[in-house]
């Protein structure tokens, strides 16, 4: 570890020196370090892309390394920056976006990078939900989107059949969903409904598809002084519905983060809200396999005006970083980063990544290309996440563009805890949302204070 760090420092030193002579002339390609947070097998697939990029040109060499889970990678990159050994590129999960946006000179904004290097990437072709998440309010891109996902509903067709429900038609609204859940319970399905990533699917996505703000200032896109707004009638009503379903035995809390996935994968749950990226696992593990796996868009309340619109994304994006508090990159290094990003934007690369992993095709061209291969006919439901992101005509609103709150990791934990306490019966839905707002706002104010200027 220590040797590696020292090695990096030694390597980086000559690179940071002024560009008196073209770096290429000294022999050997310029190294671009790339830290990512994807475990196997996804991490391997990602590293393969870097290897292909290296083979495609002689000037740059992207050196990828796995740094643990997303939060661990985030912490590693921050520690790296503080000790002037930050990677050139870091993969950062969507929850860290607010923190990265406010990171000042720790990061190199993508629009700046592209302008300085003259490399162009056709962002018009990117899915609006993906582009919007990583751009400033005026549309300038801050990070390079790559592995994006969104939340969808998976259902067990066999369980539907046993309950006398049509396995080809999933519930579209919450009223239909509750009716179906009651039928599933009557047919002895152990867990009619459960969820993975509870706050993401039940609070963040719910707010987005109902065009209801999660926080002021367009969910924080408008500045650091945003305030949470999730104690609104829609959210209280929804948490109440979940609590009622919990008491009736039609909903079961599956645990934090991805823990709920397991309840669906082992066949005990009828419906689950999960990341579209969980599809690969369900195809492998769900009893009955792909023939038994139903995919549907997130249900909504049909009496809410204007609902449903597009959902928001999850997953991660690539950020260009400066080396340390007092060290920027050379023009050559920036050029390498930009060219790697341009490579990632190629339709072929995007399409391959999508079909191999289950993440979204982030560009429309890649989506169209995959369509022509017949992939979606062989893998029914694999296109549902994209259709859902484009729902409402792709006209995103301030509430459905994404979430840009500093310290959002901490806010999520607070919302999760308050939901848990409500579902235990220790507090009402209103109290849970009020407490989340109070606790979340403390985090936001602290973040605002430490990141001012």
């Amino acid at each position: 570890m220590l040797r590696r760090t020292l090695g990096k420092a030694v390597l980086a030193a000559p690179l940071a020196a002024p560009l008196a002579a073209p770096a290429l002339a000294q022999g050997g390609p310029i190294e671009i370090s790339f830290w990512h947070g994807l475990a196997q097998p996804l991490g391997g697939l990602l590293e393969e892309i870097a290897t292909e990029f290296n083979a495609s040109q002689p000037r740059f060499r992207v050196v990828s390394s796995f740094r643990g889970s997303y939060p661990e990678t985030m912490v590693a990159a921050i520690a790296g920056f503080r000790s002037a050994t930050a990677p050139h590129i870091v993969q950062m999960f969507e929850v860290g976006t607010g923190t990265m946006m406010a990171a000042g000179r720790a990061i190199k904004p993508l629009h700046e990078l592209l302008r300085e290097t003259g490399v162009t990437i056709p962002f018009d072709d990117y899915l609006p939900a993906v582009r919007g998440y990583y751009s400033l309010a005026d549309g300038r891109m801050m990070a390079m989107p790559f592995n994006s996902s969104t939340a969808v509903m998976f259902y067990n067709k066999d369980a539907f059949r046993r309950a006398g429900l049509n396995p080809d038609v999933a519930p579209k609204t919450w009223a239909e969903l509750r009716a179906a859940a009651t039928r599933l319970k009557a047919a002895n399905v152990e867990i009619p409904v459960t969820t993975a990533w509870p706050t993401w699917t039940q609070i963040e996505q719910m707010s987005a598809i109902h065009n209801t703000p999660l926080a002021t200032l367009d969910n924080g896109f408008g500045g650091l002084n945003a305030e949470l707004r999730i104690n609104n009638p829609l959210m209280v009503r929804h948490i109440n519905a979940l609590m009622e379903m919990g008491r009736e035995g039609t909903f079961r809390w599956g645990g934090r983060d991805a823990a709920g996935d397991a309840l669906f994968a082992n066949g005990s749950s009828g419906m689950v809200f999960a990341s579209s990226g969980a599809r690969a696992r369900f195809v492998r593990e769900l009893p009955g396999g792909i023939a038994n796996l139903g995919v549907a868009m997130l249900p909504y309340y049909d009496d809410v005006q204007g609902a449903p619109i597009n959902s928001i994304i999850g997953g991660a994006a690539f950020w260009a970083m400066n080396r340390g508090p007092n060290a920027t990159r050379s023009a050559d290094e920036n050029r390498g980063i930009a060219e790697f990003f341009a490579y990632l934007a190629q339709t072929r690369v995007v399409a391959n990544w999508h079909t191999a992993t289950g993440f979204l095709p982030v560009t429309k061209a890649a989506f169209e290309q995959v369509k022509t291969t017949g992939f979606y006919t062989q893998n029914p439901g694999a296109d549902i996440p994209i259709e859902q992101l484009l729902r409402g005509g792709g006209q995103m609103t301030g509430s459905s563009r994404g979430i840009r709150l500093g310290g959002f990791v901490e806010i999520r934990t607070a919302m999760q805890e308050e939901m848990e306490r409500a579902l235990q019966g220790q507090q009402t839905a209103q109290q849970a949302m009020d407490n989340s707002v109070t606790r979340g706002n403390v985090v936001l104010r602290n973040f605002e204070r430490t990141n001012r200027g």
């Binding site: 912490v75 990171a103 508090p325 310290g407 805890e417 235990q424 220790q426 985090v443 602290n446 430490t450």
Partner: protein
């Protein structure tokens, strides 16, 4: 004639002490000093701006009701773990100390859990008590007991206490057994001849002679419950549901590593350090008086 070993000059003794001083300084005093320094600062995650805020981090922590809840929870958790681990280890050691067939096998088996890493121990318990996957979890639900530690805070607390205590029983067992075996048999025989029944012999002869061991183990167990149970909590409950299993050490981790709130995390570490110093002082001042060496 009294024999005295002494060194001429002061260079050699200090030289001999040097390695220990370097190691302690490097791995204890320096990080501790860093924590104290950090606890007075407020910094953004990237260290681009940092500002001296005096005792603000401390007052923030101490006036946070959820932190105080965590503190009480930690005391409950630690004392439960210590009592449970000590009592069951003592019981097992007394049983294993008797002349029974296969005593060596029992001893070996009882020592095994100590060799298991906390995180792995937690996974074992997870596989047993997960409400949907675990054998016992499923059995409890089938029997009509609504077991779901992912949503029921009391059950979650019970689970981590059991898992943490189970992990520590072996360690206590070894010490208690060694303690029991060092008690002279003649004393026990004399008591028996005087007509003391087994229970009386245990409480009036054996237990007092074991008290140094028990006291040592009490200190070790409390420190274990305070600091070493992180892996168990992290793998089993992550401090949830709600904050039902969030102990102080777990909170230092979430605030410092996950939430990147370095100032608050450092302040909490300093408070924790003071708390443990006070706890240990109290133990040595008051509990130790009851110990007969």
């Amino acid at each position: 004639m009294e024999k005295k070993v002494y060194f001429r000059g002061i260079a050699l003794p200090y030289l001999l002490l040097l390695p220990q001083i370097i190691v302690t300084g490097l791995f204890f005093f320096w990080p501790a000093a860093q924590a104290v320094r950090q606890s007075f600062l407020r910094e953004d995650a990237f260290g681009l701006s940092s500002q001296f805020v005096g005792f603000e981090n401390f007052t923030d922590v101490l006036s946070d009701p959820t932190w105080l809840d965590s503190a009480f929870r930690t005391l409950l958790f630690s004392s439960s773990v210590a009592i449970l681990a000590l009592a069951s280890a003592l019981f097992l050691a007394v049983q294993a100390d008797k002349h029974i067939r296969g005593a060596n096998t029992y001893k070996t088996l009882l020592i095994w859990p100590y060799a298991v890493a906390p995180a792995i121990a937690a996974v074992l318990w997870l596989f047993m008590f997960h409400p949907n996957i675990g054998i016992f979890g499923r059995a409890l639900n089938a029997m009509g007991i609504p077991w779901n530690y992912k949503l029921n805070g009391d059950q979650a607390m019970l689970l981590i206490i059991l898992a943490a205590a189970w992990k520590q029983v072996s360690y206590n067992f070894i010490f208690f057994l060694a303690g029991l075996q060092s008690i002279p048999k003649s004393v026990l025989e004399a008591a028996a001849i005087d007509g003391a029944r087994p229970m009386r012999r245990f409480w009036t002869v054996v237990f007092p002679l074991l008290s140094p061991t028990a006291f040592f183990l009490l200190v070790v167990n409390l420190v274990y419950a305070f600091f070493d149970t992180f892996g168990i909590i992290h793998s089993l409950t992550q401090g949830g549901p709600g904050k039902a299993t969030e102990t102080l050490i777990y909170r230092v981790y979430t605030d410092g590593v996950m939430n990147l709130n370095f100032g608050s995390s450092a302040a909490q570490s300093v408070i924790l350090m003071i708390l443990v110093i006070v706890l240990t002082m109290v133990q040595f001042r008051y509990v130790e008086r009851k110990v007969h060496y």
